[in-house]
């Protein structure tokens, strides 16, 4: 007989006991642990999802902050660029002004040096011209010229203005001092007499006359009557020439300055 019924009964009992024991020692603890782990995994998953959401939010915030920083950077750069441009313009204007001032000062100095040089040159030219003319007139002086000088002098005495003539007459009437006639050459006797006659005819005087040769007179004759001078001399012409030359150079310098000043500004770019 292959079946032992006691063994069968015992095996049924053994199996039921084994079911109970394994249920107690195996299935329950294992399933409990797996269930706990499942819950932990779900919690971790939820935590991970929450952290991921937070990270996503943080990323969004970071990106927003980064964007704001970039915008601020762009604004600051633009502002700095504008400020730098303005500062550059200011510095450029200031530099231009300084350059213009320096240029003006330099031009003023230059102009002063030029004026001084021109003044010196003018004086030298005038003096030289005067000296040359004086030397030339002295070289060409002769009897005819002296005669003509006396004639012209007499003619001037003859055609004095009334006011001047009256002033001289009045002054002569109040003094008895002599009358000094200075000339650059020795006046011959006949010409002296002609001068005396002319004086007598003009002023009716009885004052003594003294003829003196003066080397400082250039081809001319001079008479002093009671503080009044009646002169004819080539030196007068030469002085007039010198005055006119001086005036002409002065006008030329003035016009040169007027042309130079606008051209000297605003050259720096």
């Amino acid at each position: 007989m292959l079946i032992n019924w006691f063994t069968v009964f015992a095996q049924v009992l053994n199996f039921l006991i084994l079911v109970a024991l394994l249920r107690w020692f195996l299935y329950k603890p294992i399933l409990k642990v797996m269930h706990k782990r499942q819950i932990q995994l779900e919690e971790r998953w939820q935590e991970a999802e929450r952290l991921q959401a937070e990270a996503q939010q943080a990323l969004i915030n970071y990106q927003q902050q980064q964007q704001e920083i970039q915008q601020q950077q762009v604004a600051l750069l633009a502002e700095a660029r504008v400020t730098a441009d303005q500062e550059g313009q200011n510095l450029l204007a200031q530099m231009r002004q300084e350059m213009a001032d320096q240029r003006a000062a330099w031009q003023i100095d230059l102009q002063q040096e030029q004026d001084a040089f021109l003044r010196t040159l003018r004086q030298k030219v005038i003096h030289q011209t005067y000296a040359i003319a004086r030397q030339a007139l002295r070289d060409i002086a002769n009897a005819d010229l002296e005669y003509q000088i006396i004639q012209v002098f007499c003619d001037r005495l003859h055609h004095l203005e009334d006011s001047q003539q009256q002033a001289i007459s009045q002054a002569l009437s109040q003094t008895n001092s002599g009358i000094l006639v200075r000339s650059s050459f020795e006046i011959p006797a006949d010409l002296r007499q002609q001068v005396i006659d002319e004086l007598h005819s003009q002023f009716a005087i009885a004052h003594p006359l003294e003829f003196v040769t003066a080397s400082n007179l250039l081809c001319g004759i001079e008479i002093k009557l009671a503080g009044q001078e009646i002169v004819w001399s080539l030196d007068t012409y030469l002085q007039t020439l010198e005055q006119q030359l001086s005036n002409a150079l002065t006008q030329q310098e003035t016009s040169h300055h007027e042309h130079d000043l606008p051209a000297g500004t605003g050259c720096l770019h």
Binding site: N4, F15, L18, F25
Partner: protein, 235 residues
């Protein structure tokens, strides 16, 4: 040579017979309970897991998923019974590689006992799931004419369960013993390996068949419950 370990008797006191079947059954039970108790004494929820815990979790989880896939129901009520069936049979079959060990499943008494357990468990699970009336009514479906055949089927499949497992394990052991006497080298090793494979397969077949019988007895109520739930939802 013994065909069944029942014939190896250590102690007899009528009606108590202490044979190799009972002895190795207790040994197997002790091994299973001892290892389970030792491993589950300190279980770790968080990784890293001990290797033995990992092994047991893998086994339990595998059985859990198999039951769920086959029954399409909550596996928890069936896990203790069907899982213990599988673990006991497979442990008994695998331990045949140990010299001197006699698999309890090679005893017709053991397989009959296990088949009887299944035979009893089917109506218990069925009644617990469906109730007594519905369970008994299931024998009359689809027509009362099928009642005798249903009853015959209940007995025959129980007998088939017992005979299948006993025949395979007994024949395997017997074949290995015969080959060992004829060709003592190498061939018995191959036969032992094949015996291990067949032992695992037989444990799986026995457990799955028991699960199918139990689940089929419970599934009618599940379907009815599902339909009534749907009706309530529609209302």
């Amino acid at each position: 040579m013994e065909i069944t370990p029942d014939s190896i008797v250590f102690y007899t006191r009528e009606p108590i017979v202490l044979n190799a079947t009972l002895l190795f059954t207790w040994l197997t039970m002790g091994l299973l309970v001892g290892v389970s108790g030792w491993v589950t004494r300190q279980l770790s929820v968080c990784p890293p897991l001990p290797a033995w815990q990992n092994l047991l979790e893998m086994v339990v989880d595998g059985m859990y998923n198999q039951i769920r896939d086959i029954t399409q129901q909550d596996p928890e009520p069936y896990l203790s019974f069907v899982g213990t069936l599988f673990l006991f049979i497979v442990t008994s079959n695998l331990l045949t590689v140990v010299p001197g060990y006699h698999a309890p499943t090679g005893s017709l008494s053991t397989t009959v006992a296990l088949a009887l357990c299944v035979f009893v468990a089917v109506p218990i699970f069925g009644i617990r799931q469906q109730g007594l009336g519905n369970y008994l009514k299931s024998y009359l479906e689809p027509t009362p004419i099928m009642l005798p055949f249903q009853i015959i089927g209940e007995f025959s499949r129980t007998l088939a369960l017992a005979m299948r497992l006993f025949g395979n394990i007994m024949s395997g052991n017997l074949l290995a013993a015969i080959l060992l006497s004829l060709v003592p080298l190498f061939v018995p090793i191959v036969m032992h390996v094949l015996g291990l494979v067949f032992g695992v397969i037989q444990a799986y077949v026995f457990s799955v068949l028991a699960l199918v019988y139990i689940a089929s007895a419970s599934s009618v109520q599940q379907q009815n419950h599902h339909v009534s739930t749907q009706e309530n939802d529609y209302e």
